[in-house]
Amino acid sequence: MKKNSAFQQLKTLMRLNSKLYARRERGARTDWVSSIFGLVITGLVLSAIMIFFSILVIDFEGVGAEYELLVFTLFVVLSMQIIWATVSCIKVFFSPTENNLLVKYPISGQVLFFSKFLKVFLRELVFGLAVMLPLLNVYGILLGFDLWFFILIPFVSILLSLFCFLVGALLSFPLVFLKSFLSNKFILTLIIFVAVSGIVFFGYMQVINEVFNITNTINLNVNSAIMDAIVQISAFVYPAILLSNMLFVQSFVASLFILLGIITALVSAVYLLQWRFYKRMLEKNAGSDQVYIGRATANIQRRTMWALIRREFINMFRNTGSLFQFFAFIIITPLVTYLTVESSTDIVTQNIGVFAISAIAFFIISVFCVIINSFAASAISREGDGFYLLKIYPLDYKKIVMSKVLFTIICMIPSIIVAVSVLAVFGLLSILEVFPVIIALAFLSVFQICVSIDIDLRSPKFADENGLVPSDRNTTLSISLGLAVCMILGVLSIIGAIYLDLILMFGIIIVITGGLAALGAFLLFRKLQGKFERVG
């Protein structure tokens, strides 16, 4: 009787999970279609990368690096999937809104946990298969592996997904405490985000540089020190090496048993954690934000525009998502643009000429600006119920929109100035090039910020009570448009650098970007009243 009732509860919760997902938005079908489309695109992109590396392996005939490449590929996929699983587990296991309701029902912690456990695992499995099947099949076909390799791909993919999910579930318990601890410490969170992003990007650039070095090494052969190092390192990349062994049918049984042993240990650890802590954590509201207590400042009068910009800043600064995607990116932009420009200098100098470095620098910084400026595409959506409040105040709609434009510009411009100045200090740009690059980037930012806010004003998706904007369609649109403009301007500036005088080239770029900025402002402020009144 008891077993049956627990099973019934589990079924009900699983049904609820599927309905919550399906009804999250009006266009539920569109959600599914876009998710599947996203997975297919991810699979295709990864396959394309795999084709590139496979050709590399084929090119170095006799090197015999197929096994090592597979180990490293599986390691990358494992790392990505563990991050994804951890984020999903934190969201699903510890969602305060849902749990506050569910915890009131006579449902045991085990049943509640298991329903969520299945939900995340099924998603993880779909993601894993969508990535692994095309990736490994492409690799196997290109390198002509035997039938066993292809037969074992689904089995290995399922094991990989299970492993990643269990690690994610395990990590979610301590991380949810960390998240809660940091939830009211915004400056500390920003410092951590900046440090971690800086280190990750620095490491990434080192890897990219090494890859270029390897591909440029003409005398690469079986005995090369690099290949020896790769082989040695790959022997320690667990558990990717176990999965590779299985696919290559090398020490198959031993690898399978070790992997199953690890998975059993992980299952036991997850079971113990949930049995000991889960329900208690939900009852104590684990994962919900700590109370933020501000300073008792004086109640003094400020100008309306300054008050609006200040409110914009506070709203953004007290949101973990924008702390990372907006403020942390703004701070690390000078570092990442310096590393990227510095890394590409040799290639640019060899293939185009030293005169094209400023054009490349302009292009690279503009790409980073596009990513940061795209945050303006949620300027209206992230207001949530607050937008309704803004309409009550005796505020001119132009002033409200202008405050959003100004806020993003005020944050962006210093980052652009520092990024360009760093390049000048390290000799990658001349003093003559500094001002035109800053002006062109500032104009380009104004264009994208205005267009992004206009997009959001036309179809906002208001943030929920947790400050999360339910759809990132507007941001995607903003990034796509920004990148397209960057590509065109980048190509134009490189062509200009080759065929025209540098001053003339930047003159043309400034005229074009200035025109774009004016166009952006025109699009945003045209019929603004109508657009503003329709919202909400």
Binding site: I293, N299, A307, R311, N315, I392, Y393
Partner: protein
């Protein structure tokens, strides 16, 4: 002086197929407290949103202290303070930041706002939470901070949509104290409520809306003198009649 004058207001969400407010005309004089009664979904919130400029209306005029809401929206809105039913606030701000933001937008000078904040904090007993982020507030605290922010500029017209819902007895008394002191200071208060005892106790007049149409207006003092039944019993009776006529 007429603080609010609504004439022949019509509002539809369906392009005229069904009316939320039909031919509504209301006038509020200086120093009056007026209750706005009606069952759920009868058009109370729609009218309050129309007269505070949150959404547009199809026909009619709204004037606040002589300023036409459509022609001079900023001047009209500067005379209004509105507390919506969902106690909307900027949740990421602290109470102090929210109230000061409102005061900045309404252009309240430093010395006046400091005095008003001190007065409100004293009445609402919110000192301990004033520097806490609003998202950690309880329902009642949010309602109180919304009232502080909405009326920090001492508007001529106070509009409140069900301000007493979810408040404990003590908090209800605090809100009523604020409304009565607004009246004493010459402001007018227009609020919707389902609590007819309170409407009977503090209001000068009351309107009843049913199916988007104003069906009755009461002078509360005269009603209390003449009627042998309570306002609640009277309200039930007239809405039943209106339903039967429908």
């Amino acid at each position: 002086m007429e603080v609010l004058k609504v004439e022949n207001l019509n509002k539809s969400y369906t392009g005229g197929r069904s009316w939320q407010n039909k031919d509504i005309s209301i006038t509020l004089n200086e120093g009056e407290i007026v209750g706005f009664l009606g069952m759920n979904g009868m058009g109370k919130t729609t009218l309050l949103k129309s007269i505070t400029g949150i959404h547009s209306f199809d026909e009619g005029t709204v004037a606040v202290c002589g300023y036409d809401l459509l022609q001079q929206p900023l001047l009209a809105k500067a005379e209004i303070g509105f507390v919506p039913d969902n106690h909307s606030t900027f949740e990421k701000l602290t109470g102090r930041e929210f109230v000061n933001f409102s005061a900045d937008v309404y252009g309240v000078p430093t010395d006046i706002r400091q005095a008003r904040i001190a007065e409100y904090l004293n009445i609402f007993k919110l000192e301990h939470a004033f520097d806490r982020q609003i998202k950690s507030y309880s329902h009642g605290m949010k309602q109180k901070i919304a009232i502080m922010a909405s009326f920090i500029h001492s508007p001529k017209l106070w509009v409140l949509d069900e301000p007493l819902v979810g408040l404990d007895v003590g908090s209800q008394r605090e809100v009523l104290t604020i409304l009565l002191s607004a009246k004493e200071n010459g402001s007018s208060v227009f609020f919707s409520s389902h609590n007819l005892d309170i409407v009977e106790r503090i209001c000068d007049r009351a309107f009843v809306i049913h199916d988007g149409v104003l069906i009755k207006e009461y002078n509360i003092r005269k009603f209390k003198e003449k009627s042998k039944i309570s306002l609640e019993e009277e309200f039930v009776k007239i809405t039943e009649v209106a339903n039967e006529e429908k």
